[in-house]
């Protein structure tokens, strides 16, 4: 058994021990173990760069997504003359929210008109702000965008794994029950193994006893090192008043073997990742409130519905040609250019850059991503199942996860995220019509909640790889690309500076776009200042 846990061999290191815990208990157990052994995880602190003592120069910014908005806002404050060209009729880039009246026309698809009830919405782009994304939170505070908690982890929500075996496979099981039982079962096994002296060669008696004490605590073990359940996994009969129900009745844990074979424990690690930890936030009323915040400050600098046609530069300046809403072409001349156009789009554009730079632009892949919002006529997940927000985890890659809304508690209706899928699965689902996508999401939901599909009133779906001006959810760098192309693109090519989530290690997060813009305008400013 120990061999199976620790990967075999005679040597036993702290790392192997941690890996053993991770493979059995998910990283929740790993994290607890790491803390106990003195590891910790730090997060970076960030603020806009100091751009004092410069300015006056002209900068043209391509794209009014969060990177472009950040650059425009900070450069203007520092005294630069900024013009922003934006292909869409609104600012925000991928920071969008679909509510009544929002229109989307995927390339090769039919036009969708969102017809959710007033007050209901889906964030089909970015939807979460981790507490340590201090750059994003800097601007929500700056623009007075009210936040609310996004429920990113909910013990009451269901895990629905169909690919495992045994009695729990293919059944919705409360996440907290899986978490408690797998921790308990793994802790029991390890504690008993330690007690029998199986690792006495590898650790001192004092370490062993402390570790057993930890396992008793971690796995809710009784004095004989057995796991017999814990009230934290929920009650069979909830405690209440009087003598009936009185103390209630504790629930019976699932058999450890059944939990293991269900595969449902695979989901536990997901919310412990650095980017997924609590506290998670969302803007009240939709993610696009953040874009609107920026827009309040810089909309007068933005030329909307203006498509970039070409970029030229020499040692004196840059020239960007564009086509406006009426099909009229024009030119913007500036000293410098900050281009935030996604590389998936930029690679196909007429831009004058050096050969290695051009080649580097073409090297990154973009994520295929699909999401659907389903307006439900009744909040059955709250009313019937007592689940308030959080994810429904599946092992069906066509669906990925579902998400229950973290807003509008106990109101009449709500919008559920019906799927969130990637890659080849997203390609497949995006071939379906909006109606067929809704049906697919409905069939998956019916496996978890009785009557799910019959509650769907209307839906809105987005496949980011088919959305013009984006052509993908976010940049997906390979390890090779990070080594070769990425460093090239992080530096200016002549007078052209790129910025966006694609030039960060926070790809797909708004913080990546903002912090990339901060870094690039600091470089630009230093150059102007030095000149």
């Amino acid at each position: 058994m120990t061999q199976k846990f620790f990967g075999g061999g005679r040597g036993f290191s702290r790392r192997m021990f941690l890996e053993g815990l991770s493979s059995v208990g998910g990283s929740a157990l790993l994290m607890a173990g790491m803390s106990a052994l003195g590891f910790d995880i730090a997060s970076a602190a960030t603020a806009p760069p100091d751009l004092s003592g410069g300015g006056g120069k002209k900068v043209v910014v391509l794209g009014a997504g969060l990177a472009g908005l950040t650059a425009a806002y900070e450069l203007t404050r520092a005294g630069y003359q900024v013009t922003v060209l934006e292909a869409r009729s609104f600012a925000g880039g991928r920071c969008q929210t679909a509510r009544k009246g929002f229109q989307l026309n995927e390339l090769g698809g039919e036009t969708q008109n969102c017809d959710f009830d007033d007050g209901l919405y889906i964030n089909h782009g970015p939807w979460r702000i981790p507490y340590h994304h201090r750059s994003t939170l800097h601007y929500t505070k700056e623009f007075n965008v009210p936040l609310e908690v996004f429920v990113n982890d909910n013990d009451a929500s269901y895990v629905m794994f169909e690919k495992g075996s045994g009695p729990l496979a293919g059944k919705p099981v409360r996440k907290g029950q899986i978490a408690a039982d797998v921790r308990g079962g793994a802790a029991e096994m390890l504690a008993k193994t330690l007690k029998q002296g199986a690792l006495d060669q590898q650790m001192s008696a004092d370490d062993r006893d402390t570790l057993i004490a930890y396992l008793v605590h971690e796995g809710y073990l009784t004095n004989d090192l057995a796991y017999r359940g814990t009230e934290g996994r929920g009650f069979a009969v909830n405690p209440g008043a009087g003598v009936n129900p009185g103390p209630g009745k504790e629930s019976e844990p699932f058999a450890f073997s059944d939990v293991l074979h269900s595969g449902a424990w695979k989901t536990l690690a997901s919310v412990t990742g650095h980017e997924q930890q609590r506290t998670m936030f969302q803007p009240v009323g939709g993610m696009d409130r953040l874009a609107k915040g920026f827009e309040g400050a810089v909309s007068h600098l933005i030329r909307y519905s203006t498509k970039v046609k070409s970029f030229r530069q020499n040692d004196k300046g840059v020239v960007v040609t564009y086509e406006d809403e009426d099909g009229q072409t024009g030119k913007v001349k500036a000293d410098y250019c900050i281009c935030t156009i996604p590389l998936s789009v930029l690679r196909q554009m007429d831009v004058e850059v050096s050969k290695p730079f051009k080649q580097a632009i073409g090297e990154v892949a973009y994520a295929l991503v699909g999401k659907i919002g389903l307006q439900m006529k009744r909040r059955f997940w709250e009313e019937d199942h007592h689940i308030y927000g959080g994810h429904i985890y599946t092992d069906n890659p066509e669906i990925g996860s579902m998400n229950l809304p973290s807003t509008g508690w106990q109101s009449k209706k709500g919008v559920i995220l019906g799927y969130y899928q990637f890659g080849a699965q997203a390609a497949k689902v995006s071939a379906l019509s909006p109606k067929e996508r809704q049906a697919l999401a409905g069939r998956a939901g019916d496996k978890v909640f009785e009557g799910y599909s019959s509650n769907i009133e209307t839906s809105f779906s987005a496949a980011w790889h088919r959305i013009e001006h984006n052509l993908g959810g976010w940049a997906q760098w390979s390890d090779e690309g990070r080594q070769s192309a990425y460093p090239i693109l992080c530096e200016p090519d002549g007078r052209l500076y790129l910025a966006g989530e694609h030039l960060s290690y926070l790809t797909g997060w708004q913080a990546g776009a903002i912090e990339s813009a901060w870094q690039q305008i600091a470089k630009l400013h230093a150059r102007v200042h030095a000149a």
Binding site: G108, E275, S344, Y366, L368, F422, A424, A427, A431, G508
Partner: protein, 130 residues
């Protein structure tokens, strides 16, 4: 070709990631997996998704289209965990003969050869959620 397929299946050489559909329908597989971007007409969308009709890559040495399907490239995802060798061969055979394209069918062993050489783990990329 069918006997070859059976032979490879019997030898366990056909990829186990998807059930090998012996009579895989190339057209249907194309519509399910590829047409969202490349369009049912094979014409793609200018400035976004390349056309397959008349494409030099599609009609040329099968190595290139096979590895693109298996590993992805640019905006195209890797299908190596989603399509079996039989399915990849059926799709390629279809797109090399549809819309006026004329090129030889692609047999399962050809796909298999590149799969074994090019298999890469890309789990992280597909699991990134934001």
């Amino acid at each position: 070709m069918k006997s070859l397929v059976s032979l490879f299946a019997a030898l366990g050489l056909v990829s186990a990631v998807a059930s090998p559909a012996l009579a895989a329908d190339g057209r249907q597989l194309f519509l399910d997996n590829c047409a969202a971007c490349h369009q049912p007409t094979g014409k793609g969308v200018a400035g976004a998704f390349p056309a397959l009709a008349g494409s030099k890559v599609v009609l040329g040495d099968p190595k290139e289209p096979i590895t693109r399907i298996l590993n992805g490239r640019g905006g195209m995802p890797a299908f190596q965990n989603d399509l079996s060798d039989t399915e990849v061969s059926a799709i390629l055979t279809y797109i090399r003969s549809a819309w006026g394209n004329k090129a030889a069918p692609v047999a399962v062993p050809q796909v298999l050869a590149f799969r074994s050489n090019t298999r890469r783990e890309n789990a992280k990329a597909s699991l990134q959620a934001h």
